[in-house]
Amino acid sequence: MSFLAPWAFAIAGLAAAGMVILHLVARQRPAAYWLPTTRFIPDQRTLVSRAATRPRDLLLLALRVLLLLSVGAAFARPVLTPRRGAMARVVLIDRSHAVASVFDAVTRAKAATSDGVPATLIAFDSTPVVVAATSLDSLAKTSRTEAAGSLSAALVAARRASAALAERADSIQLVLVSPVAVSEIDSATRRLRAAWPGAIRIERVALLADSSAPWTLERRLTADDPLGPAMASAPRSGTITRLLRGAPTAADSTFVRDGGTAVRWDSTAASRPAAEGLAVGDEVIVAALGRRAVPNAERVVARWADGTAAATETRLGKGCLRDVGVTIPAAGDIALHPPFQRIVRALLAPCGLNVTEHPADSTTIAWLAGAATNAARADVLRGDDTRPSPLAPWLLGLAIVLALAELALRAKSQTEAA
């Protein structure tokens, strides 16, 4: 146990010593004895001052000393310090949609924690969750989530977990088990990485392989088609997506049932554009767009800012049929904007492949790992001294009880003396 404000306890100790001295030299008045012949006693002082070798009223003295020490200890803010090890570890396990196999990620995490060093495991996608070591097997059996990964959120969770671990270890090692996709790094990641006072051990796992698989559009788009610029740079091989401008035909249904993807998107249909917000996955744009009603389906692929569906998808046989209710005004340069182009590619991508992830380059990985090779010092990660002491309320309660006992004992003594 240590004290966050030891000076308070020292003051209480001095006060307790003073109390003992007061009990040694206290002026005392003997108990009264009713004697009718008191007048025959020579008149002398009725108080006796003397320094005794033993303090008087030992019980009262003990109560007062304990009272002072309890109050002093409470204000000294005692904290129970657990036994510290040399190192502790925080392991961040990526389970976002960018991870090819959560099982592989968990296996790498197990390997990283197999040396017996105390570790806190945090599984993250867009939200970090602390998982127990015993839950790793269960986590390994789950599939990746549909949410995007966020290294910023993971680093914040790691910082919080390390503050607790810092009480039990001298240094903290941070292990990141992730494919480190580009989409997982945002503008806050750099500052959060700089706030971590040590190296990060990165265990890279495979990025979702399908997400980078090539696909192509069956129909060749003209240059004036608003979807054309988005697909101009798309690869020309791999899975084929059929773009429909009208109602699907029997041939289209056969195409879908055989595993193809048909996207019904009459992007040039006349409608009055208005300022709209459109979200597809993590991509969001605000632009002058037109709305067209889409049928209810089992899956919503895109939504308008007010929550209504902008694109829906229905599984049909082995493939799927997607309806997109977004119309693009003929005038304007929105078709040239990269965010819009990414949305277009996501809406035209084959079923289940509407996420495109790219691995971070080696420069980013090196920056993320850090130049230093050492783990972070625990005292830097430890919380500040303003945290509440769990023992202080109990000590103050004890002090109140002692004060009441002292009051009762003193009243009893006075009654007996009278």
């Binding site: 008045r29 003997p30 004697l35 009718p36 008191t38 006693i41 002398q44």
Partner: protein, 288 residues
Amino acid sequence: MPTGPYGALLDAVRGVRWPAARRVMGATLGAHPSQLRGNSSEFSEFRPYRQGDDPRRVDWRLLARSDRAYVRLTTDRATFRTSMIVDASASMAFPLPQFDKWRLAREVAVGLASVAHAEADPVGLAIAGAGQTVLAPRARRSVLLEMMRALDATTPAGSTALAPLVASARASRVVVITDLLGDFDEMLTAARLRVASRSEVIVVHIVADDELDPPGDALLAVDPEAPTMRRILDGDLRIAYRESFLRWVDDSAAALRAAGVRYVRANTNEPAPHLVRRIAGETARRGA
């Protein structure tokens, strides 16, 4: 007659005689030799006849034998009005919690009254406490019971002067039962006046053993009648106190005796019947 806690005492003092110390004045037939010579059958002496004597008291046989006229004198006996004045001030409530001084004072008062009442003397009672209780001397049978009730109903408290009661007592024999810690000088003056008027005054001085030798743990003494008087009683002070107290007791006894008052010191460890016998017996010896 229900006697309550005094039953054993009354049994113990039954038969005790308490004659007056000298001849008494009074015409009511009683047990004490009277100063008057009258017509009783108890022959005393012959005296030559003087003019004015009752001719019926002339001893005619002696006149016939000696040719001189003598009157026959007899000794008359009269009652002796007795009053008990009991000090019920706070100092009599000692030692706590038994009140030994007050207990002994009550028992002595009842015992002496019983003895006097047995000789047909009217007995009365005056209690000087927080409030005064006065029972005029009476010879009726219930007077003892009234005295017992009055004493039992009293708790020693306050500080009341005894001198007015001594001066106003309607009795020829006044017994003051007190610890003398009140208005001693005034009471002495009143007693001296009563003695001068041929009354018999007896002071029974009640002294508690704890007053003579206070307990060892009594370090701070407080006067119950003056609580602001607080004195340390330790070491040499205890010796000085004892000497001072005994000197005062002796001086008080000497002053009372010098005034013609009969002084009887009574310790609380002395049984009340023994004390009653001692008071009555000493009087009897004096009278003899």
